[in-house]
């Protein structure tokens, strides 16, 4: 099967993730969408590594996962503190800073 299709798939996933960031209100979900984007990239990397016939892509994917994990830690901490303050995880509620 043509690996290019995986690229298309990952592109779709990436787009879905992007759209998710744009349309979802809940901070957690938004964040998950971002993770989705990262994983879409992982898929791309792996696919390319397949296409190029080198392992680097796959190794990179691992790097990305690690980084993503770190991001999760930070992200959740921040979102949690916000949630505790406002009793809401909606990203639309936090807009004191504007204009």
């Amino acid at each position: 099967m043509n690996p290019a299709n995986y690229l298309i798939l990952s592109a779709l996933l990436f787009t879905i993730g992007t759209v998710g960031v744009l349309v979802r209100r809940n901070a957690i979900v938004v964040f998950m969408s971002i993770e989705l984007m990262l994983n879409a990239v992982n898929l791309t990397l792996v696919t390319f590594s397949r296409i190029n016939g080198t392992l680097d892509g796959q190794i990179m994917a691992f790097f990305v996962m690690v980084v993503a994990a770190a991001e999760v830690v930070i992200g959740l901490a921040i979102i949690l503190s916000i949630f505790r303050t406002r009793r809401s995880a909606s990203v639309d509620d936090v807009n004191l800073l504007k204009y």
Binding site: L96, L97, K98, Y99
Partner: protein, 608 residues
Amino acid sequence: MNTVPWLTILLIVPAAAAVVVAALPRRHATLAKQLTLAVTLAVLVLAVIATFAYDPDKAGFQFGQSYDWISTFGISYSVGADGISLVLMLLAALLVPVVVLSSWNEVDGEAAGGGRVPAPTAVPDRGTPGGSAGGAGPAVDVEGIGPVGGAGGAGGAGGVGGGAGGATAVLAAPAPARPVTFPPVETRGEAETPGRRSVPAFFALLLALEAGMIGVFAATDVFLFYVFFEAMLIPMYFLIGSYGPVKEQAQRSYAAVKFLVYSLFGGLLMLAAVIGLYVVSADNLGHGTFDFATLRQMEITPGVQKLLFLGFFVAFAIKAPLFPFHTWLPDAGAQSPTGGAVLLVGVLDKVGTFGLIRYCIPLFPDAADYFAPMVLGLAVVGIFYGALLAIGQRDMKRLVAYTSLAHFGFIALGVFAFTSQAGTGAVLYMVNHGLSTGLLFLVVGFLVARRGTRDVGAYGGLAKVTPLLAGVFLLAGLSSLALPGTNSFVSEFLVLVGTFTANKPLAIVATCGIVLAAIYVLYLYQRTMTGPIVHPENKVLHDLSLREKLVVAPIVALIVALGVYPKPLLDIITPTVTATYADIGKSDPAPTHPAAAHPVATQPGGHS
């Protein structure tokens, strides 16, 4: 070639003094004044000595000095004096002490004429910058919800009305051109207590300004010139903004900002041209340089010349100012303290016209040739436009400012007529205008100080009460309408006759401008000094005080002296101007039918 670094000394002395004075604590006001006066007088003396050390017949710059500054960009600290810059430095050195003396009491509020402080103007205080207009004061801190930029409603309506108001208010400020009439009332109490305005700071600013003015004329490195050109703005800006009319906070900050932004705008365009010049030099000579002498030898393709010329020209046209870049001048002129106005119109604006003849023409001859008709046109328009507007003013300081617009028209005319007579006349005009308009501003300042209003309507019949003041006023006016026997006549006639030989129609039109000059001067005099005294409070005004006499005396003397015997200055100016035009291949048109056996340049009295 004498080796005394006159210019550097002239630069350092006031600059250093500025720092010292600024460092003085407020309570040492008198010390600050005395120190400033002493220093400025010293500078004047130095300048005069330098003038004597100057040899008019030697070509090129004298007292030259040059040290590398930013070698990466071929920038150097290099100064030098030629006939043009020397006389202008002299003018600056002369006017500053005069101004210092004239502003002796201005800052301490005494200037408001026996406790007379103008009551707040009728115009609404819309000009207060900083978006406080937006009404978003310090917001309540409900558990950390601190003052948020444009929180809530302020953000809403405030967007334009408030927030934008904050920004635009300064520029959308009430146009002071609407006659600022405020009945003088005893309002010491609610008037801003004079102590608020730091006296040392004021005089430090004056000194800084002097250093800047000397520097801008002395610089022979284009970059250095630009640096002074811009740096000079700051002290002037503060002079207008914090020492303008006490009660007109809105208008004065409006005027100050307008002045600064206008000048910065021009300056930035010039910066583009300056950098362009550097790049061109880098391409032509291999290594970029800002050295004026080198640059003027450089051949630039006409197309590029035009662009660079425009860059410089607009900056200078705003500075000078020429029609239609002038609208900042009336505001600045009206809102600056008297001393500031004198220096602003007397010297600072000369930087514009100076730049035209020093930089625009020698550096970009082809472009100068190409644009000359445009400039001449603007100049002539300016002559009439300024005069007519001056006739139409009721605010005396604005009026004087507009007259300057007309005078700058004459100067620009002379500069771009490309004949040595017109050019010399123009340069001399710069000096003379500094004296005559300076004196006008001083006298107007005296009146305002006595009466607390700039509105012509508040005066009338003063010649009876204050004959001396009226006399000086009239003399200043006569000088500004270029009556023979006063300094301005010589320069104005030179400009006109020089222009005439090159371009008859233009000169004829311009000459008609002298009628308008008579009207705006004498009409002003008539409204203020003659007729019956209508306002009782004018009956008690006192005539010139001794200090004021001392202030005007030197200028009055010079006005007459230079009118009767301008030769010394002319001898300094002429060679440089002639060289400048010869440099770009312009020579005076010969008389069409010279009287036979009439040597072209008669030695004095040769034909008598």
